[in-house]
């Protein structure tokens, strides 16, 4: 509540960046998972 707008923007950017990284990791893991699943089939 006490944070200023600039601080909030900075925090928001940080969370955006983290979000992007998680999405990339998730995408990679999903690809590997489906490849493995396909291999098992």
């Amino acid at each position: 509540k006490d944070k200023s707008a600039s601080e909030l923007r900075e925090e928001l950017n940080r969370v955006y960046s983290e979000n992007k990284k998680i999405k990339e990791m998730l995408e990679t893991v999903c690809e590997k998972y489906y490849a493995l699943h396909h291999h098992l089939e």
Binding site: A5, L8, E11, N19, I22, Y33, H39, L40
Partner: protein
């Protein structure tokens, strides 16, 4: 009354402020929007993290299952190859069947021998339980559905199986030339080319090539030329894959000069029968003579 009531709604303020209040209101609304966005992204972040964790767990479980499955199938294969057959026939019957099979294929192979050609040998020596494992590819007729490879040795078939994951039938043989010989052979049709038989040998022969087999029995003959296996057509002596003769390690039991002589004869015979080799040799000799003439002049 109406006029007095309407006049009460008229904004009589002069609005003399310098806009600080409006800016504050605007800033407050921006801040609240940022906070909302931050909350939304953080919640999304949390969900994504949970999904990532879950997917990683599933991936690890699946990977573990695959590893277990692979290990299990490997163990089953090894056990099948090393365990004796459950329903074993009498040796006499085995020999009869074996010779009958050999005879049958000999006939077919004698007619098909010309059709058999240079076949690439992929010898991958893998050290599995201190046993030498070699793999030799034999070309056969497409119509030939038997799993018999004529390599000069006598084999006793002790099993054949087909599994769901590997529908191509494979036959298991044990060397019958000597009771103490523990060499085993697995024969299976190649997945890529059904006319190719893949023979996987395990172990080392502790005896020479059976000399009692007549040289004209038209067995498949192969000699090793680097990475290739070439059929030695019509050779005067029985041949064997050189890879196996190299593996013989008990010289006390084997007449080495005889084997070497046999191999030399076999190689000479196969090379002289090969028109390409003859042409290459002629070209080399004439080229050499031509060079000598040029230098003498």
């Amino acid at each position: 009354m109406d006029q007095s009531s309407s006049s009460s709604f008229v904004d009589t303020s002069l609005d003399l402020t310098i806009g600080v209040t409006r800016m504050r209101v605007k800033e407050d609304s921006t801040t609240s929007a940022l906070v909302d966005e931050l909350n939304r992204v953080s919640a999304e972040n949390k969900k994504l993290s949970e999904m990532l964790t879950l997917t990683c767990e599933n991936y690890n479980v699946l990977r573990k299952q695959l590893m277990e499955y692979v290990n299990k199938s490997n163990n089953v294969t090894e056990r099948d190859q090393t365990s004796p057959p459950k329903k074993r026939k009498s040796p006499a019957r085995d020999d009869a069947v074996s010779s009958a099979v050999i005879g049958g294929v000999s006939e077919s192979s004698s007619t098909d021998q010309d059709g058999q050609y240079l076949c690439k040998k992929k010898q991958r020596e893998e050290t599995v339980v201190k046993e030498k494992v070699s793999r030799v590819y034999y070309k056969t007729e497409a119509s030939d559905t038997t799993l018999v490879v004529k390599d000069g040795y006598q084999w006793r078939k002790y099993g054949q199986k087909v599994t769901r994951d590997n529908p191509s039938p494979r036959a298991y043989f044990k060397c019958a030339c000597a009771p103490s010989c523990s060499v085993k052979k697995k024969v299976q049709r190649s997945v890529e080319d059904q006319s190719v038989l893949v023979a996987t040998y395990e172990g080392e022969h502790n005896h020479p090539i059976p000399s009692q087999i007549d040289s004209n029995n038209s067995l498949n003959r192969y000699i090793s030329l680097g990475d290739y296996m070439a059929p030695a057509k019509g050779s005067s002596s029985l041949a064997e894959p050189v890879t196996e003769s190299k593996k013989v390690t008990s010289p006390s039991r084997i007449d080495i000069p005889e084997v070497q002589k046999l191999l030399v004869e076999q190689m000479a015979s196969s090379l002289t029968k090969d028109p390409n080799f003859t042409a290459a040799l002629a070209a080399a000799v004439t080229g050499r003579l031509y060079q000598q003439n040029q230098t003498e002049k």
